[in-house]
C-alpha cells in the first residue's frame, strides 16, 4: 500500500487519483474533528470540504511528517476562519471556562452520549480532546497546530478526558 507521503508527492505532480485516495483515507478523521469542533454535522462537513480543497492547493507546502496532523492543522485554521466570520466579536480564549461559540442545541436528544459529554467541556478542553483523543494527534502536534504551549495542551487534555469520563459515567436524567 502506498504511504501518505508517496500519495502526496503524486498529487503534487497533479494526480487527482492520488489525492482522492488521501481524501478517502482521512475524510473520517477530518470530518469527525470538524463536526465536533462546530457541534454541527453540516457546518463540520463544510469545514472538512474546505480543508481538503485548501490541502489540494497547498500540497506543495507539505514537508513530510504525519499527513493527518498536517490536515488537522488546516482544519483547525478553517474552523477559526469560520468562527471569526460567524462570531467576530469573540476572541478565542483558551483559558475560558465558558463556552462562547454559539453551538446548535437542536437534536440534543438524538446525539450519542459521547457527543453530549463533549458539549459539557470548556471550549479549550473540547478543542484539545477533539484533536488529541478523537483525531489522534500527539500533544506536540496539537500544540503546533493551535499555537498553544505544550503544557497547556496536556493540561486541557488531562482535564477534558477526566470530565468526559465523569459525564459518560453519569447519564443525564431526562
Amino acid at each position: 500500500m502506498r504511504t501518505d507521503p508517496d500519495l502526496a508527492a503524486e498529487a503534487v505532480r497533479g494526480s487527482e487519483a492520488a489525492f482522492a485516495e488521501l481524501v478517502r483515507r482521512h475524510q473520517a478523521r477530518v470530518r469527525g474533528m470538524a463536526r465536533r469542533l462546530t457541534g454541527s454535522e453540516s457546518a463540520g462537513d463544510d469545514i472538512a470540504q474546505a480543508t481538503f480543497l485548501t490541502a489540494w492547493q497547498k500540497l506543495g507546502t507539505y514537508a513530510g511528517g504525519t499527513f493527518s496532523a498536517w490536515l488537522c492543522t488546516i482544519c483547525w485554521r478553517e474552523f477559526l476562519q469560520v468562527r471569526r466570520k460567524t462570531r467576530p466579536e469573540i476572541e478565542f480564549d483558551e483559558t475560558a471556562e465558558v463556552i462562547p461559540f454559539e453551538r446548535p442545541t437542536e437534536k440534543q436528544d438524538d446525539r450519542m452520549d459521547l457527543s453530549r459529554a463533549l458539549e459539557k467541556l470548556t471550549e479549550a478542553q473540547r478543542v484539545c480532546v477533539v484533536m488529541c483523543v478523537a483525531a489522534g494527534l500527539t500533544h506536540r502536534e496539537a500544540a503546533e497546530a493551535t499555537g498553544w504551549p505544550l503544557g497547556t495542551v496536556k493540561s486541557h487534555v488531562l482535564r477534558g478526558v477526566e470530565a468526559l469520563r465523569k459525564h459518560l459515567a453519569k447519564p443525564e436524567v431526562a
Binding site: 475524510q27 473520517a28 450519542m112 478523537a134 500533544h139
Partner: protein, 115 residues
C-alpha cells in the same frame, strides 16, 4: 507508557463514530470541487490568453510596420477594429473599466489557483 495510551478507550469510541461516516459522497464532493476549480482556471487562462492575443494583434502594425510590410488586409482589419473599439469606448467608457476589473480578477484567480 505514553500519555496518549491513557485514553485509548475514548479514542476507540470516537474512531467508531468516525468509521460510520459514509466516505463516497464526501470524496465525490471534494473531487468535484477540485475539478470545477481546475476547469474555471483553464477557462480563465484560455480567455486571458485570447484577450492578450487580441491586444498583441492590435499592436502588430505599429511594432513591425517600420521593418517589413504587413499585408494590407491585416493592417486595415486591425485599424478598423481599433476604430470600433474607440467608438465603443467613447459611447460608454464604463465597459472599459468593467473589462479591466474582470481582467484583473481573472488574472488573480488564475495566479492563485492550483491546476
Amino acid at each position: 507508557m505514553h500519555e496518549e495510551d491513557t485514553y485509548q478507550d475514548l479514542a476507540n469510541l470516537f474512531a467508531a463514530e468516525d468509521r460510520a461516516l459514509e466516505a463516497k459522497p464526501f470524496v465525490d464532493g471534494v473531487m468535484g470541487g477540485i475539478r470545477r476549480k481546475a476547469l474555471i482556471r483553464r477557462l480563465v487562462i484560455a480567455g486571458g490568453g485570447a484577450a492578450g492575443a487580441v491586444i498583441a494583434a492590435f499592436q502588430l502594425p505599429s511594432l513591425f510596420g517600420d521593418w517589413f510590410t504587413v499585408d494590407d488586409t491585416i493592417v486595415s482589419a486591425v485599424a478598423s477594429a481599433q476604430q470600433q473599439v474607440g467608438v465603443l469606448a467613447s459611447v460608454n467608457p464604463v465597459w472599459l473599466l468593467a473589462a479591466a476589473v474582470a481582467g484583473l480578477s481573472f488574472a488573480a484567480v488564475a495566479t492563485l489557483e492550483r491546476a
